[in-house]
């Protein structure tokens, strides 16, 4: 695999809003991140913070009330936002693979899993039916679906959730993409199956030297697999760091609250430290820091002035007035 001179994927100031009949709901408000080749970058945040929207926006898979308002998504030197549709389609499934949160509904119920995986090979690799079938068998075995020959002609409803997710992985990796976007791949699965799927992803990543954008709200998973972490809150990135720095020296109050909220084995009869308050509604984001209403260290200017994302360290950035040198007027 040729090494790239720069990062594989660079997102710059991505902005996405949903235009509903209740008004505009900005879901992604200027998100920037980079994904180096072969690394796992995690995008963490609670439900509704916009992380799934970022994932869908990368390959322009957003559906209707959602629209990309601005920003750049540069993948291997090309901006995906402005790329014409046919060129984008050539990249989807071939150079960028994607797996989703709900394996139960992400597979077409009327086609066999073999047909659905083979489709990717027909379209992107130009394989014949026979060659594709052989390749599909090989892929099924690689993702741990055995006996492959029996499963290949089965329909999605005949498979369990974990197996369906393996099929999704096989589909996404069939053409050996450079980037895999995994949107909460294990959230809908049982805990034991979660571990298996993650192990599988890790093994495949090592083998294919593939970058993974891992979207999740599970910090444990992040700690195990990611090299870099971006924490999202209310449509913005509030902290980004390599995984060690984030867990050892969390800077943003939200990150610290998240880490504090993790239940710790061995400590019984403690109240779980929940974060007080609720996420502000996207229809009415405050002009300043969106976390201000829940922040224990809030200052007077926080609700009205937006803190910029600045580096306290070469590999650690945070958007918080607590860590800014200059205080806003």
């Amino acid at each position: 695999m040729p090494t790239l001179s720069g990062p594989l994927l660079t997102i710059s100031d991505l902005r996405v809003s949903f235009f509903t009949d209740r008004g505009e709901a900005p879901a992604v408000r200027g998100v920037s991140l980079t994904i180096p080749a072969g690394q796992t970058v995690a995008l963490v945040g609670e439900s509704g913070c916009g992380k799934s929207t970022v994932a869908l926006a990368i390959t322009r898979l957003l559906s209707d009330p959602g629209r990309i308002l601005g920003g750049q998504v540069v993948f291997k030197g090309r901006d995906l936002i402005s790329l014409p549709e046919p060129a984008l389609r050539a990249i989807r499934g071939k150079e960028i693979g994607m797996i989703f949160q709900e394996p139960m509904t992400s597979l077409n119920p009327v086609f066999t899993i073999g047909e659905q995986i083979a489709e990717v090979l027909y379209v992107h690799a130009g394989l014949s039916k026979r060659a594709a079938r052989l390749e599909v068998l090989r892929l099924l075995e690689k993702v741990g679906i055995v006996p492959a020959a029996r499963r290949i002609d089965q329909y999605p409803h005949e498979l369990s959730g974990g197996m369906k997710q393996r099929v999704m992985i096989a589909m996404a990796l069939a053409c050996q993409p450079d980037l895999l976007i995994a949107d909460e791949p294990t959230t809908a699965l049982d805990v034991t199956v979660q571990a298996q799927i993650l192990e599988l992803l890790y093994a495949l990543q090592q083998e294919l030297h593939m970058a993974i954008l891992l979207i999740t709200h599970n910090l444990g998973v992040v700690a195990q697999f990611a090299q870099a972490v971006h924490v999202m809150y209310a449509g913005k990135i509030v902290e980004q760091a390599d995984v060690h720095s984030l867990f050892q020296h969390p800077l943003h109050p939200y990150t610290r609250a998240l880490l504090k909220a993790l239940p710790r084995p061995g400590h019984r009869a403690e109240r779980l430290a929940a974060i007080a308050g609720t996420v502000p509604t996207p229809f009415q984001y405050p002009p300043g820091c969106a976390f201000a209403s829940r922040c224990p260290d809030v200052r007077g200017h926080c609700p009205t002035a937006e803190p910029p994302l600045t580096a306290t360290d070469p590999s650690h950035k945070v958007a918080c007035w607590l860590h800014e040198r200059s205080v806003p007027p």
């Binding site: 009949d21 609250a257 974060i275 007080a276 308050g277 509604t281 009415q284 829940r294 224990p296 260290d297």
Partner: protein
Amino acid sequence: MADFTRTGVLAEPLDLPTPETPLQEVWRVFRKDKLALASLGVLLLLLVVAVAGKVVTEWIIVMNPETVRLPEKFKPPLSSASADLLLEADLPPFGVYLLGTDELGRDVFARMLQGAFVSLSIGFIAVGISVLIGVILGGLAGFYGSVTLGFISIDTLIMRFTDIMLCFPTFFLILTVVALLPPSIYNIMIVIGLTSWMGTARFVRAEFLALREQDFVVAAQALGLPAWRIIFYHMVPNAIAPVLVSATIGVASAILTESALSFLGFGVQPPYATWGNILADGKDFIFDAPWLFFIPGFAIFTVVLAFNLVGEALREALNPKLRRR
């Protein structure tokens, strides 16, 4: 380390929008469809006209739809009455036949006013009957479905019965019954009601089956609430959405059925006027007096269209899945 379980001190309180009630939400989505709003307006107007019509033609007779004025037959709309040929009492208000006269010299406007009320009431009562039957049967099937009476469960029994009713060619059945029974407006209403409940029953059964598994029903049962209370206070309001939609569309369909029955000669009999039988009578005079055909036809079309549009908009507004957000 700071205690994260306490809320921080804010410079000023945040202004959160109050969440809207389900009813407000439905109205908000409904309002967006301008055509549906216009149709709702038409229907309200129709209600007013129908009630006013009943008052004006039957209770305080300002216009009598039954007055036969043979010398005045086939007068086009907006023609003035010949005051010299008629008795004082037979003159139309303002001396003008707003919508003309028919083959017996009757004032079409008066007949349309009377017909409005009759057509609407046929629609509403027929749908009322069908909704009642549908909700009861569907509710029983959905809630008590697994209870068995001997070798057959209530659910299967009711559903088979529904399937049987669906196998009859509905219009043919209505026609048969209406033709064989003594002609009466009540028979028509009842028969239409008795043959159109099947859709509602299926909806209600489906909703109840889904609702029965939901936690709030189990919780209500755990609290010891009696079954009828669970059904009527808790489950029915949740299941009501598709019923409301199909009821609205059902009124439209009942009005159309009544007009078809009148066309075949089995509708409401004279002297009662419904828009259906005015239209049916009018078809014989298409060339001589086209207004006798076009006016009731257009009126039925407008009203039925309004009901359909309102019903569809209601369906969009009530169903979160179908909405475009």
